[in-house]
Symmetry: C2
Subunit: 373 residues, 2 copies
């Protein structure tokens, strides 16, 4: 081991992800590497598919982790479902909604971007209005906007999208495992997540799931998917086929880690995990307000796992983060895009969402604010 | 830890990759996860860039691991360098050359595929002939064709490509770390590799490097790269930019592992590692021939790290592999594509390439052949 790696700090990860890793997941990461076509490894792949179906609350056959980070999951959904000229409605209230529009545009979609103020939620009425104006092939929205800490009404929007015949793409990178995500009930056709948020696994994989309607669209494409690495028609024969044909070499040890983190979450129970996120979020908000600080997002639109705290006037926000990191070994996130300098992003994701971490953070924040003053 | 993970066999990986992992790399995998914008982590990123430059023997600024497996590296090279209608010459003598042609075609390139018999090498004369016929924007070839065990004359082809002004893309997935790869001397403009071959790190990352000429082409593109996840102009501002702007969340722990495996290789010394691959390959070939078996590839075109052994008439090749895996805990690979059933692929990659593994394999193979008869 080089000194660089030996010297790594044990940092309490309370930013927008990665989150604290389960100890058992670190162990799983270091389990002996198997071949990607080994029967024992294929057993683990099958177990992961079942676990992900439970987590996404779906019966979708094609439910699998893509071999890339959450953004590769986003790319997968769009590159497989968008054909040249498709009309795509993207609902935007933060960085990740904007990214969806960028991804779709690069693929030749005719993108309509409806923007909402950052820090507020996408509203069902505005979506209804837009859907009445023009037909769409695809509607896309982010469930938990990591850049602002806002939850969007994915279930309600789904009720509008399905009757119109459009496909519904939802980003659940930050929500999955921390709040309800019900793919089948909500009429979602393509969904992706990340491992480094509420799953408390290192970054590197993107769990994803596709409805039969999505698969139909893929099968009926007039042109092959312009991305070999993420082409689901090829990948599914490795993950689902009777023969398990080689596509690319799966990231074996990362998949061990994902399997283990899903085992942790499902043995806690999904509802219990959601309740734990909620409780710790409430304790955090109470503590933040007791310190005289204010939350950036209105109570009804707040995510429990990503807490945007308004930076008070006159406070050097970068200095506070740096004291937290260096003196207290706690990472929190800065604002992104137009919110840079205006908010801190405090994550309570997965294994991070525990009372001792909330307390440790609040007292460290109090002392850091004093030190930075 | 679930029983599935506890029960994982310790398999000696002697297939076409993944290879045996260095013990220190398993340790590195399980080091505490840091944030992807953490100064300590950025220090590790910088160290990796320097290590990869040493490994690729290049001064290229843009030298970095892409967040996906080797095939994502292939996709990266083509999606960034190919524009609609570009004339791409692909030299094919196995599965991975074919894959290059498929990737390029999907991106709208005008692909000319020149095919050579599988098991033989790409010949310089044939390439010269082809280059005299028509101008090309890009020429692409696989250095070590993992599907057949053949080495291609990458340096010599480079001498033909450069004067023509074409960009030269080379796949070094299986060669890097096991035989010489000299990116600058050989005039390579875009190169990619994988972590799970001679680097003896789990699969999941693709080390890659791009010349200034490649960057010029990317900067001068008429259309943005139709792949947000792999867009080098965005990714380079995270890996190289003064500000280190967030693009996607890097696969932190996999990068620790890569850093550690590069430390192992570079402290052994590149030339020593190549010599070790050569020596163990020679011992393997001697043992194979002593068993009355024959190598599939002619001596001058053989790769040391990927040994294609001809399956003798009347032998049930799948049964031999299954006995090796189940009784002896050794994985070797089957033939791919048109070589399915005709060859075994025996890997001696990275940490696998040690005398004790060669001996263990040869005696296990002898007894498996007897048991399968």
């Amino acid at each position: 081991m080089t000194s660089t790696l030996l010297d790594i700090d044990e940092v309490l990860l309370m930013g927008p992800g990665p989150s604290a890793i389960y100890p058992s997941v670190y162990e799983a990461l270091a389990a002996p590497t198997l071949g990607h076509l080994d029967a024992q490894f294929i057993g683990i792949m099958d177990a992961i598919k079942g676990q992900l179906r439970d987590l996404f609350r779906t019966k979708n056959m094609l439910t699998l982790p893509m071999s890339g980070t959450g953004s590769a999951g986003m790319e997968t959904c769009f590159v497989n479902l968008v054909e040249q000229g498709d009309r795509v409605l993207v609902l935007i209230n933060g960085v990740f909604g904007k990214r969806m529009a960028d991804v779709a545009q690069r693929l030749g979609a005719a993108v309509t971007a409806v923007e909402f103020e950052w820090g507020t939620e996408v509203t069902v009425d505005r979506v209804k209005e837009e859907l009445a104006k023009a037909p769409y092939d695809i509607v896309a929205v982010v469930h938990a906007e990591t850049s602002t800490g806002v939850i969007n009404p994915v279930a309600e929007i789904g009720k509008l999208v399905k009757p119109m015949g459009a496909l519904y793409i939802v980003d659940t990178v930050t929500s999955l495992g921390g709040i309800e995500v019900s793919v089948d009930d909500w009429g979602i056709d393509a969904v992706y997540s990340g491992t480094q948020k509420c799953l408390s696994c290192p970054p590197g994989l993107s769990p994803a799931s596709f409805s039969d309607r999505a698969l139909e669209k893929i099968r009926g494409r007039s042109k092959t998917v312009p991305n070999w690495y993420l082409d689901l028609s090829l990948i599914s024969s490795y993950w689902d086929g009777a023969k398990r044909s080689y596509h690319h070499t799966a990231p074996i040890n990362m998949l061990y880690a994902l399997h283990q983190s899903l085992t942790e979450i499902l043995s806690e129970g999904l509802e219990n995990a959601w309740a734990r996120h909620r409780t710790n979020h409430e304790a955090l908000v109470a503590g933040i307000e007791k310190l005289g600080l204010a939350m950036f997002v209105s109570p009804h639109a707040r995510l429990p796992m990503l807490n945007a705290v308004a930076v008070p006037d006159g406070v050097d926000e970068a200095r506070v983060r740096s004291i937290l990191r260096n003196e207290h070994k706690i990472e929190i996130g800065a604002g992104l895009g137009s919110l840079a300098g205006k908010i801190w992003r405090v994550g309570l994701m997965g294994y991070t969402a525990r009372p001792e971490n909330v307390q440790r953070f609040l007292s460290a924040l109090e002392s850091s604010l004093r030190a930075a003053a």
